[in-house]
């Protein structure tokens, strides 16, 4: 399996950026870029490769953030251990919804609706458990700078953690794509019955893909909580986040390992510029434009911007 050299070069270049005297706002953008690339890459493993389209992946960002944060606040558990618990809880929830859904053939849009419903249910649970979670006001994580508490005064350590986890996720996506498991997921994406007929355990393969995706996503939630030091149910469990993750991957190319990263390279700066230009008044404007962009890409670019780039390269 030849490792993609471009990915290595890109990662090394990204790793030396902090040498430059850049403002911390710049690193904030880079961290958001890496986080959304990471989350969309995780999403693509189940929703792009196997086409089990989740529109509720915020469930697992939220669970990741809340489980580790609640453990930190109430029991003083370091987020590094909290992350393990957060991932375990997210995987358990994923099995709870994924196993029956896949076992009993909840396919296509019905699976998407089920995942949306999960996120909505979790959001209202975390809002109504006000005594523990602070309800819709959310939780501020007390600031205590130390490695042990996964809190840093500078953006640089966050940047390196985001870069490392992004690199690992993209490498995982790449190796799945080149291995038998990736071929199985492609077969499932194309025709589930035909996949069964050649001996593919469709239910199990989908579940494994979902669990890989969810495990990665939950870590994204832990990271977000520790980076932002404030979490609230609407932001973390809400539909906008789920849609943003799905849109990022779809615009890039949901079928290829590098697709979600390309999508994030376009969308993260795009929404940041939009936010600066229009201000908070037009917060929802970005979603309108997201929608428009999604329609254009879905209609004219079946393989996303990545497909467009590779076609141009061939010509």
């Amino acid at each position: 399996m030849p490792f993609p050299r471009n990915l290595l070069i890109l990662t090394i270049l990204a790793a030396v950026i902090p040498i430059l005297p850049l403002p911390s706002y710049f690193f904030h953008i880079l961290i958001m870029l890496l986080l959304f690339s990471y989350l969309s890459t995780a999403w693509t493993i189940v929703s792009g490769y196997a086409k089990q389209i989740s529109l509720g992946h915020s469930s697992f960002v939220g669970l990741g953030a809340y489980v580790s944060t609640l453990l930190l606040i109430y029991f003083g558990v370091t987020p590094w251990f909290g992350a393990v618990a957060a991932i375990a809880v997210s995987l358990a929830v994923a099995v709870l919804i994924g196993f029956p859904a896949f076992k009993f053939g909840v396919r296509g849009p019905y699976f998407s609706f089920a995942t949306m419903a999960l996120a909505a249910i979790l959001e209202s649970i975390f809002i109504s458990a006000r005594k523990i979670t602070g309800g819709s006001l959310g939780i501020s994580i007390p600031y205590k700078e130390s490695w042990a508490y996964f809190q840093f005064s500078s953006k640089i350590p966050y940047y390196y953690i985001a870069l490392l986890t992004w690199f690992l996720a993209v490498t995982l996506a790449f190796s799945i794509e080149r291995n038998w498991f990736g071929y199985y997921l492609m077969a499932i994406r194309e025709d589930e019955d035909a996949a069964e007929a050649v001996g593919i355990n469709v239910t199990r393969s989908k579940l494994i893909a979902l669990l890989l995706s969810v495990g990665l996503t939950a870590w994204g939630g832990v990271f977000y909580a520790q980076y932002n030091l404030y979490i609230d149910p609407a932001t973390l469990f809400g539909l906008p986040l789920s849609f943003q993750i799905a849109t990022t991957s779809t615009i890039g190319n949901p079928k290829r390992w590098i697709g979600p990263t390309i999508g994030a390279l376009v969308l993260v700066p795009f929404s940041e510029i939009l936010r600066v230009v229009t201000g908070a008044t037009f917060g929802s404007l970005s979603f309108l434009l997201y929608g428009a962009l999604l329609i254009i890409v879905a209609r004219f670019l079946p393989n996303g911007l990545h497909g467009l780039m590779t076609e141009k390269a061939k010509q």
Partner: protein, 240 residues
Amino acid sequence: MALLETQTVTKKFGGLNALQNVDLKLEKQEIVGLIGPNGSGKTTLINVIAGFYKPDSGRIFFEDREITGLYPHDIAHRGIVRTFQLTRPFGNLTVLENVTIGALLKTRIVEEAEGKALEILRSVDLYEMRNSRSKDLTTGNRKRLELARALAVEPRVLLLDEVLAGLTTSEAQSILSLIDKLRREQGVSFLIVEHIVRAIMTISDRIAVLDAGEKIVEDTPESVAANETVRAIYLGKEHV
């Protein structure tokens, strides 16, 4: 016991008896043709054997072990592989990728599976088309691809659901000789559902005739061709 055996298999869809007490045997290296008018239950029988439908009653045995109610992928693992009447390629994937996926059941190494897939593509005359997107193939090539993908799984029994339908005479002839070669050289057994009775008569060792879900005749091709009941079903009673 035969290699593959169905015992009094019954399958109902609502009030309709799609299959009624069907007994069928398939020996090693044997080719059995399954014929019958539209809606007589031929495809249903394939679906039941391959695990896509659970029979309401009756049992199915393969290599002396019961396989009734197993999942399709389990049944494929044991060595029974079916094709689909309306071909179902992995449409956006290339011909080579389609067959490679079939070959990945026996080896988990993609390069090995690809090598095997290329070999199979040569044997079904699809090698030149290996990099074409499979949904762009002609009907004849899609049928070949359907067969190639099933062969990649290295089946001991192939359930072929109308692989000849829609092919020209020479295309059908080349598929028939491939089937015969697989039987002789690799010892594969075949249960072939076919509408084109003439094609199936020449290649089958035995013919089973289904009508309204019941097996009415099972005999050598010659006897079946001469059978009054069969002629009545196909040509109408007044012609006999």
